[in-house]
């Protein structure tokens, strides 16, 4: 694909990261908003799509569209092959042992709900405890609360300190004989904190407790190796990884997935159905009832091809530079307080402006062409912890530039001017 070779060229090991060349792969970045160049800093909500992903969707619907895993005709075989090839790309991308451990879902939210219902209801009992953290997205809180109500289990919460880091001493104290699951974020969506998950997983495993990682905010910034992390489940969304919306991935350790009952019943998840008894299909199909988002899966595969051609060392350095520069620039603004000052951060800069609500900041920034998120970021407990109703969040991707950080700072000065 053109975009990929183009990128490979711009990411030569020797040279530095050429952000302007990368930007050419993303057609939306050429847009003007309210007469100003778009400055897209809402990557934590969703990533923009490179041309090769858009082309993959187009190519699928133009020349491959068919249902998968059933037709004997040419198109169905093409579509099945393309969809399964995408699964294999995802397996390689997160270094899973087998592609039967890669389950296509709608997104991170569905992945977590699947584990809560299939693993949780099967393996937890009344009185058992599930550990989450105080910096979780609602989608890593509510599915567990639903499970707790269903079976009489209990949620325990790892607290966070003033910098937005987990208090690990408290984490260690939460374990007891009733602890049955740990479900935590890899990177916080509201604060940007990178959680020391590898050490935490080791601790959990010492207590015989399996671990789910919410990787929605981690996959666009960090290289993920599920074997190295040694996690039991890893959930992420395709659309934050520059792929289509409506498709995501649950990685699960095969031994655990084998023991779990199916998520939904329907076509594709069975091997034999009679009115007396139904035999379920093998992994991963046991968890994939109904016609999936075929184009989405293929599009996610294209996004992974694109990302795999990038030099991730250079990306990490570029993103680190963006975040440090933005932190310095914004810290200079009178009355601006940064929320989330962990030592290890990725991609997110959340802040509050004295006497100005985040929504008003968001609206004025938008008039300057700067797209950010304003609100509670589906993490209301985090807002409570910091005593703020909402924050403004700038979230970065590798295609953002230093000039865009300057545009953000200028727009914040405009907010200050409006509010006096």
């Amino acid at each position: 694909m053109k975009a990929v070779s183009h990128l490979a060229e711009s990411c030569n090991a020797a040279g530095s990261f050429d952000v302007q060349r990368v930007r050419e792969d993303f057609p939306i970045l050429k847009l003007k908003v309210h007469g100003k160049p778009l400055v897209y800093l809402d990557n934590g909500a969703t990533g923009q799509k490179p041309q090769c992903v858009i082309d993959a969707l187009n190519a699928y619907y133009s020349a491959e569209n068919s249902n998968i895993h059933r037709g004997v005709h040419y198109l169905s075989e093409r579509a099945t092959a393309a969809y399964e090839a995408a699964r294999e790309k995802i397996r390689g991308f997160i270094n899973a042992r087998s592609d039967k451990e890669i389950i296509f879902v709608r997104g991170t939210t569905e992945a977590i709900n699947l584990v809560a219902q299939c693993y949780g209801r099967g393996s937890l009992r009344a009185g058992d405890e599930i550990i989450v953290s105080a910096m979780e997205h609602h989608s890593n809180i509510v599915p567990w609360q639903i499970l707790c109500e269903q079976i009489g289990a209990r949620l325990r919460v790892i607290p966070i300190n003033h910098d937005g880091e987990l208090v690990l001493e408290e984490y260690h104290r939460l374990f007891n004989s009733r602890t049955k699951l740990l479900s935590i974020t890899h990177v916080s969506n509201a604060l940007g904190t990178v959680v020391p998950v590898k050490e935490m997983i080791a601790t959990a495993h010492e207590h015989g407790v399996p671990v789910l990682l919410d990787g929605a905010q981690a996959v666009p910034h960090l290289r993920i190796d599920v074997q190295d992390l040694d996690c039991d489940f890893y959930a992420f969304s395709g659309h934050k990884l520059f792929g289509p919306t409506g498709v995501g991935v649950l990685y699960g350790r095969a031994e655990l997935l084998e023991k779990m009952p199916p998520y939904q019943g329907g076509g594709d998840m069975i091997s034999l159905v009679t009115f007396e008894k139904t035999h379920y299909n093998v992994l991963p199909y046991k968890f994939e009832a109904g016609t999936p988002h075929i184009a989405g899966g293929i599009g996610l595969g294209a996004a992974i091809d694109y990302l795999s051609a990038l030099n991730w060392g250079q990306i990490a350095a570029h993103e680190h530079k963006l975040l440090s520069y933005a932190t310095e620039r914004l810290a200079d603004i009178d009355g601006l307080r940064i929320i989330g000052t962990a030592k290890e951060k990725a991609g997110v800069l959340s802040f509050v402006l004295e006497n100005v609500h985040a929504h008003d900041v968001g609206t004025i920034l938008d008039q300057e062409g700067v797209a950010v998120r304003a609100g509670h970021h589906c993490a209301m407990p985090v807002m409570q912890r910091f005593g703020v109703p909402a924050t403004t969040r700038a979230s970065f991707a590798f295609y953002n530039t230093i000039e865009e950080v300057d545009a953000l700072a200028r727009a914040i000065y405009r907010v200050r001017k409006v509010f006096g």
Partner: protein, 148 residues
């Protein structure tokens, strides 16, 4: 005037900075809470209703400049009005905020200053939250009002 200047007029910024009737009414006989689940804004509206007339009305809560100013202006406007007149005003304000008023919002008096909001669809709910809440208070609904 740009859309932005239209939205953040001096009067609105002033109500945001020094909201009127931002207090609890001790002998309120109507009270309702309102939430905007999208952004987490919340407001509590207190009403002292006597013989079908709003003798006193106040609010407290947290939200953006638009929601605060709208609530503040609402309390100033509703004081002394009959329940029926308040309901009529609610209808007209709602029409103006959503851009559905055929007269451009002439029926709402001073509140016309909020008409700039209709150019910012994402902010309409901020401006209408207090109105939904007072409406719930007057109808004696037990459920918190939401903008959804």
């Amino acid at each position: 005037m740009s859309d932005l200047d239209d939205l953040y007029q001096e009067v609105i910024l002033d109500h945001n900075k020094s909201p009127r009737n931002y207090r609890v009414i001790a002998d309120a006989n109507r009270k309702a809470e309102g939430y905007n689940p999208l952004c987490g804004d919340h407001v509590t509206v207190y009403v002292h209703l006597e013989d079908g007339v709003i003798r006193d009305v106040s609010f407290q809560g947290s939200g953006c400049a638009i929601s605060k100013a709208s609530a503040s202006m609402m309390t100033a406007e509703l004081k002394g009005k009959s329940e029926a007149a308040a309901e009529e005003l609610f209808e007209n304000v709602h029409k103006m905020l959503t851009g559905a008023a055929d007269d451009g919002g002439e029926k709402v008096g001073k509140l016309k200053i909020l008409s700039g909001v209709c150019k910012f669809p994402a902010r309409v709910k901020c401006a209408s939250l207090a109105w939904h809440t007072v409406n719930a208070a007057l109808h004696g609904d037990n459920q918190p009002a939401t903008t959804e």
